[in-house]
Every structure is written in structure tokens, then in C-alpha cells.
């Protein structure tokens, strides 16, 4: 479990990083927090000739409150969200999610941008940005563009980022103060990846509701019927049936057990959002 030899480069700017990743002088991968990439390198699962460490690029760690949204630098570590070191656009949801990610040691180095770019389906940030209707800011050799979170993940470990593109920021619209969130995550044991994770956002004052399911072996799933049903205040049994129907209709390859687990997390996230 020692990595194969690779060259290590630490650019000082986004432009330099993008240039190196696109220069075609051998394979290159960006290194963010390394909490997934370094183990993969050690296991020799991700052979690469050059590692481009983004840690030296100050701009990627900057966070800005833009008034109606907060723009988080892609290299913001999970612990920064957990500790409230960055402003919270989500009424505390992002801090709550971040604080329940793996272990503190991982959170001290892992980054939101790295987690999103890898798109491990069990990653908590994936479902969080979808639930929060975030916009992901990408930069690459062809310039900059904005990708809505719901269109970002195409499949397991597969995003709409083009070759040589990096995430530079995650823009989260400030959620209304009247909105309440619900969170339900199932892990086999403390610190493990999610087996199922659901986030619900319900605003009775404004009559809106949204629920997203993550850890589904693919992209997160938004469940509008379940959300509407919860907002209407439907009885538990009826809500469960709606959730079940909508999950089956999503046509993912859920095992019988996984379907039951996902139905539980979605229900509990909605129940908590509605009742809090």
C-alpha cells in the first residue's frame, strides 16, 4: 500500500492550476484534501503521473457573503463549516451535516469541493448541495461556468465537470429564516459512509417544501411528491406510501432492504422538518 512514483506540483493560482491540468504533458489530477485521493494513490487504484496540489491557492479558500447567497471557496474544509468559521446560508444545516461527516481528523483536511468533484455517491455534500439548490462554479481551460447542483452529478463518481475543469466555489442561496430543515442519516457504525441520507426543507409560512435523498449509488434524488405530501400535513401512513411510490418510480436499482431504509430516512427527515 505504497503509492507508485508521481510528481508533485503546487501552483499558486487557479490559472496556473488549470494550465497544468490541461497541458497534456502526462496525466495529472488535482489534490484537494486528499482524504479520498491519497488512500486511492496508496492502494494504486488511481495511477497518475502528476499530482497538482490546490492547497496553495488562497482564492479557493475564500468565502464571501454576497447578500442573497454565500459563495464558499471550494477548498473550504468540512471543519470550517462545523465550527462556524464561515457564514451559514442554510440556517445551520451545513454545519450540522459537516459535523457528522466521518471523523474530525478527516474533517480537518477534507474539502467541500473535493468531495463534490469526486462525487462518491455516499458523500454527504452531494445531497446537501442538491437540497439547498446550490450553484457550483467551475473554471477550466474554456473559461468559467455555473452548474446547478441538481445537474452536477450524472452518476457514481461521474460529474458534468469537463476534462481539466475545477470547482472554484459553491454558491448557496440564503434559505429563508422561516424554513426548517430535517436530517436523517444512517451509517453502519459511527464515522462510516452513509447507507442512506435524506435532507428535508419545509417552509410552512411560504408554503414550500423540498426533500432530497443521497447515498443512493448514483446521483441524489429529489422527491417533489413526498415533499408536497408532507407540506399538506398528510397522515404518516399516507406519506409513507407516497414516499414508497416515488422511490420506486425513480427507477433506481434499490434492493428490497435499501428501499425500506431510504423510505425511512426520507420519512424521518420530512417528519423532523415539519414538526420543528
Amino acid at each position: 500500500m505504497k503509492p507508485a512514483p508521481f510528481a508533485y506540483i503546487r501552483p499558486a493560482s487557479i490559472a496556473e492550476a488549470v494550465r497544468i491540468l490541461a497541458d497534456g504533458k502526462g496525466s495529472a489530477r488535482p489534490l484537494a484534501g486528499g482524504q479520498s485521493l491519497v488512500p486511492m494513490l496508496n492502494l494504486r487504484l488511481a495511477p497518475v503521473e502528476r499530482i497538482v496540489d490546490l492547497g496553495g491557492i488562497a482564492e479557493l479558500r475564500q468565502t464571501r457573503d454576497d447578500g442573497t447567497s454565500v459563495r464558499y471557496g471550494a477548498m473550504t474544509i468540512h471543519a470550517a463549516f462545523e465550527d462556524g468559521e464561515v457564514p451559514d446560508a442554510s440556517n445551520g444545516l451545513m454545519a450540522h451535516v459537516a459535523g457528522r461527516f466521518a471523523f474530525r481528523a478527516v474533517r480537518n483536511r477534507g474539502t467541500i469541493g473535493g468531495a463534490l468533484a469526486l462525487a462518491d455517491p455516499a458523500s454527504d455534500w452531494l445531497v446537501t448541495v442538491v437540497a439547498l439548490e446550490a450553484k457550483l462554479h467551475a473554471v477550466g481551460p474554456d473559461g468559467r461556468r455555473v452548474i446547478p447542483a441538481e445537474k452536477f452529478v450524472l452518476g457514481p463518481y461521474f460529474t458534468s465537470l469537463a476534462e481539466g475543469e475545477l470547482l472554484e466555489a459553491i454558491e448557496v442561496p440564503k434559505r429563508p429564516k422561516t424554513e426548517r430543515w430535517g436530517y436523517c442519516k444512517v451509517t453502519a457504525k459511527v464515522g462510516e459512509y452513509a447507507e442512506s441520507m435524506a435532507l428535508a426543507l419545509v417552509d410552512r409560512a411560504r408554503g414550500t417544501a423540498r426533500v432530497a435523498l443521497g447515498a443512493t449509488d448514483g446521483a441524489p434524488i429529489v422527491l417533489p411528491e413526498a415533499a408536497a405530501s408532507a407540506l399538506r400535513g398528510e397522515a404518516a401512513q399516507s406519506l409513507r406510501e407516497t414516499i414508497q411510490r416515488e422511490l420506486v418510480a425513480a427507477e433506481r436499482d434499490f434492493s428490497r432492504a435499501k428501499l425500506a431504509m431510504h423510505a425511512t430516512t426520507v420519512f424521518r427527515a420530512l417528519r423532523d422538518a415539519v414538526s420543528s
Partner: protein, 789 residues
Amino acid sequence: MGGTRAEKTVERTQGVGTPVRRVEDRRFLEGKGEYLADLNIPGVVDIAFLRSPVAHARLKGVHIPDRIRNSVVLAGDIAFAKPIVAVGKAKGFKYSEYPPLATGRVRFVGEPIAMCVASTRAEAEDMAQACTLDLEELPPVWDIDVALRPDAPPIHDGWDNNLFVTTEIKTGDLNAVKASASVVVEKTMRMARHAGVSMETRGVLAYYDRRLGELVVYSSTQFPHVIRTILAQSLGIAESTLRVVAPDVGGGFGIKNNFQPEELAVAALAMKIGRPVRWIEDRREHLIASPHAREHRYRLKAYADKAGRVLGLEAEVTVDAGAYSVWPWTASMEAGMSAGIMTGPYDIPVYHGRAITVCTNKSPLGPYRGVGRSGACFAIETMIDAVARAVGRTPEDVRIENMVPPTAMPYRSATGKLYDSGDYPEAARRALAAIDAAAVRARQARGEPDGRLIGLGVASYTEQSAHGTAEWVARGLPVVFGYEPALARFTPDGKLILFVGIQNHGQGLETTLAQVAHEELGIPVSDVVVRHGDSSVSPYGMGTFASRSMTMAGGAVSRACAILAEKMKRIGAHLLQAPVDSVTLADGKVSFGAQSVTFAEIADAAYLHPERLPTGEEPALEANAVYEPGRSTGAFSYATHACVVAVDPGTGLVEILDYVVCHDCGTMVNPLIVEAQVVGGVAQGLGTALYEEIPYDENGQPLASTFLDYLIPGPAEVPDVRVLHMETPSPHTRFGIKGMGEGGAIAPPAAVLNGINDALRPLRVELSETPVTPERILDAIAAAQENAR
């Protein structure tokens, strides 16, 4: 020899039964232990094994790039090293040849094919990656069912099927039982394949010592002397020119209790190239290719009367023993042991048991804390619960009524074991009282506000420990572990060194053996050094496994120290001019009233002033002894575990709300250590119950090769375990000690599964497979709901 503690005329403040803090902990907790990877031999080169990526193939060749040809070692380069062959004595046992590096065929993913040698491990792995293998794949035998199909390809040359051996035990008239039973309960159960996951992985470092003319092999092993014997045989050298040393070993649990092909390969290479060579196993290798454990399948049929009294039992245990027979246990020991303890603590007079050992394309299976007993306990304990349900009574009552009562001791079981002493029903009663079964039942009836389901789970077992000659002969092993030695040697300055043949890797023996010395001599524990783990330093011993060391080495230390105690008294009395019968040994002194002479003065006389010794007294102050218990059929520790679980039927998650162990290991030498052993064992047992498994796919690929997939319990998963002690001494051992290191790991799978089934009974769910993962629970609930519709 043996029985209860000797009458004490002097107080022994650090003797048998006292809670002395472990002396070895200081170096471990301060990070000053010296494990295999800490050893620094100048000029050492590191080895990475090139291992088979496929489960079953003809190995036609290894293509090595020219630039590294001299750095890659193949089987032909160490052809003088003989393959590992472990032959069981049971009729029909088929043996396997396990080469240190594969020749001709590879038989499991991870089997060593070549050694790549470089100045760093990273470079050695680069070399391994640069080699290509010419493999002609054969159909993988990836499962017991696949292995037993009539058209399955035999994995070993000359075999006509994939069975190592089948053995049977038949006691009593099963037909009579079948005719008279009111209730028949049949169940199948399974336990998943484990890796041992010791905190320190395996490792070997070998070099040639020119001064002493010997090959020195450091290995993270549990039995250095025995490894020396088999390694010398395999290398074709005299044992007197081989030294095997176990440095500090960070956990073994049985995984380090086999003769590993890596030990043989590395030692052979060191002989050949005359340079120090080192292999440190990494975690991926450990999960894939270290000896695996626990993969059992059971079919049980219990015949009972209307009250749930079991009149007879039929059992079939099938073990997936992997590709090769491990040395010295043989592939068949696991199934044989399970069949041999299946009736557990119960008085079941009629028993037909069959043990089937199957060969598959997986890493060889060997002993792991509890060995076959964990599976047997799992089988019989879940069966007892099922019998109770069938007759409409509580598992608690049915369990106790079936147990061997204390008045029946010593008791010959239907499996042929001789239980020496114990009160099994009392342990069960105390455990149930401590868990407050009545309160749990009341809570179940009330229901939980969060919708979780509460369950009570109980499991009992009896555990053979410190077995000697008779038992090992009965198991048909190629070597028999009948005794332990001890050499107790005073230094001229009056301190004591105990040289023992066991190997301490977490059991606290550097402390407890000193406590035994204190018991005999009254010497402060801090004046005693325990030396173990080095074949050149200690007398020939068998090592640490099978919960034997405290009983066996403790007995030997006691005997050797008793001899020294007499000599101390004789010399001390002479120096004090007092009658020998009137002096006492305590606090490092021999005393007569207010007068005393220190051990240092006595030792000084014995070694360097023999003119001061009594006439006829030989100089020097050391004694040798060997020890075996009065009966070699084993001393039986036992326990009942009881737990309360909360099952979330929406997520399948299980929380253990309370866990109680009431155990009896005879006389406890050190209650702190005993309790810690129980709790540690429970943690591992919970791993078996809820988390650990290595599934293989239909290509024979192991699907859990990192901790991402192989889950083990961490601090958040292990509850506070309450341990209650009973002490029924063994009539056959020194001080009445029984071994107890494994027991904690034996009962949890059964206790937890019984608890989960108790909780899920209203949903008509009965699970019978470990680990009981959330997915398995949810799937069973969904299946029961579909059946109901």
C-alpha cells in the same frame, strides 16, 4: 497437584487473586514497545510479495523485466524450502502442500507468487507492479456449495473432490429419541468469514548471525519455539542453528499462531542471499491473505419434550477451510472442535454430530479467538431459543433447565469432553438477575416512544481451556502440546528472572507470572522479570493459544519457584542459624522472628560465597520445572452472557443497551486482567455479531479488502460490559486456575442474535446469519411483510 489455593501462613499482597496493575503497560502506553517494524538491522532490504490476483489458475510463468530480474525471487529460487504440510490423523484426511511461493497453480486471491526485494517497500511494490503473470484461469471454487458439486474441479492434484475430511461423533440412540420426542426443531445457521485484524499486522525479519553461526528469524508470532521446529525442518537445517524471536507482538488472536508461508519464504531468502530481509504485512494483505476465520454453516435438529428438555441433538457443521491446511492445526480442526462442543453447557445425552471440512479457493482458515466454539455456541444457543419458542416458554427457563447441574460434575458430555467443575445454572441465574430480565420484559410490553423494538438475548457456553496431551491427540494434530516449562533463576543481587515458553501478546503474563512467583516466594513483583518469546533464551515451550498460558506456564512457574522457596529457606535458615521449619518467606526476605536475611544476601552466598552455604547444599539459585494439569482433558471455564438490544425496524440499526457477563474461570490470578480479557473478547464477539464479513464473489474475489468494507467495532460500538465473577476452582490445575482468554468472544454472536430475534418476534422475523447487518434485518422484515400479505 492442584485444587484450591495453598494455605497461606504469610500474607501475599501481590499473589494469586490480587489486582496488580500490568507491568508491561508502561512501555506500550508510552510508545516504547518494540514491534517487528521497529527493529532496525543495518542493511535490511524490504520485501513486497507479488500475490495472485485470481482465485484459481495454472501459473505458467512470471515475466520479469530485465532491469529487475535479480530482485524478484520465484519458487524455483528457494526450491530447497519444503512446502507446508499439515496432516490430520482422522481417517480419510486429505493433505495439501502449501508452498512458500506458488508453483504450478495458484489457489486463492492473495497467494504469494514471488518476492520483490528493494531498499524500500515502495520500490518493491513498483517492481511487483512491473511484473506480469502468465495465468491460465481455472473455474473458481468460490463457495462451499460450488466446492461440493459433483462436477467441481478438485483444487488439489490427486484429490477427487474438495473435501479435506468428514468426521462424526455418535453417542446414544437417536432413533429412540426421535420416537419419544414431542417437539422437533430444525434450523440452519451461518457465520461469515472473518479476518483477525490484530492491531499489528504480521511481519518477518530474517538475517544470518555470523558470530553465532545461526539464522535469526524475528516473527510476529505466538509460538516461537514451535515455529523454530517446523521452520528448521522446512529449511533443512538443524534447529540448533536457528533462532526464532517474537518481539513485542501487537495482538495475535490465533492469526499469528500458524506457520505462515511468508515466514518460510523470508527465512529461505535470508539464507540464500545472506542479507537481512524484512516483510511487514500491510492491512490490505492482512484482510485478503492472512489466515481467515469463522466461516461456518450449521444444520441442527433438536428433539425435545413438551417442556423443552432436549433429549437428543443432530448437528452438521460445514467449514469453508480455504485452499490449504494450516499448520499445525490442520484444516479440519475448526469443524471438529465445533462438533466436539456442540452440546455446550447442556445435559444432552444423545448426540450425532458431523464435521465437514471443505476446500475452496479462499485464504486458508485457521484458529481465531474462540475457534470452533464461537460457531458451536452460536448454533446451539440460537437453537435453544428456538426450542423455547416452540414449546411456548421463555428461553431463560428452558436454557437453565437443560443445563448440566453442579451435582453432575465432573460430567462426561455426549461429545466426549470431561467438564471438570462449575455451576452453569447459577451463572445463568446471576446474569439474568443482573440484566433484570423481568424489567426488560415489562419494557418490551410497554413499547418504546421512538418505535424501536426491545429484545433480551441470552447465550451460555462452556469453554475447554489449558487442554493437554489427551485432547491434542484426540484432535489428531501432527504435534501435541502437552506441557509448559519454566526456568526460575535468581541473579546474585537477589532478583528473579522467569524464563517461560509462552508468548505474551496482550494477556498480561509479564505481570501474572510474576504474581505466581510472589505467591510462592514472597518476592515483590517489581523484582521479577519475565522473559519469553525467544527460542534461544527460554526453555522449549508451546506458545500462547487455546487459553492455556496462565494455567500451564503458571503451574510451571509455581513448581520452579516452590523448589527455589525451599532452597531459600534452607540457606536463609542456615544464615540466620534458625530451624528451617520456623522461617518464613515474605517481602524479599527470609525471616525468623525479628531477624531476617534478604534474597540478595542469600543469592550472593549461593553464587559467589558458597562457603556460607549449609553443608551439602549445591551452589547457584535456579530451578527448572515442567507442568501439565492433573488431567489433560482441559479445565472448563464457562459463562452466560445477557444483553438488551434495541432494534430500529425502519433502519435496521441495532443498539446494545446493556450487556452483562457472568463468568467463572476458576481461581482468578488477576481480576483486572480477567475483566479486561472478557470485555475485549466481547468487543470482538460484537464484531462477529454485527459487523464483520468477507464475502467472495463468483470469481473468487474477496469483496472486503480494506476497512471501507470490512467493519470492526470501535469505541462507539462497544457498550459498557458489566462483568460478574464466580470462582469454582478446577480440581486439576495449580491454584484451581482455568484459562479464560477466549470466552468473551464466544457468546456475543448468539446473545445478540437471540436478542434481535426476541425484539423482532412481533414482526415474525427470525434471523440466523451473522453479521446481522441493517440490510439483513430490513430484508427479513420486508420478506415477513410480503409473506403476511
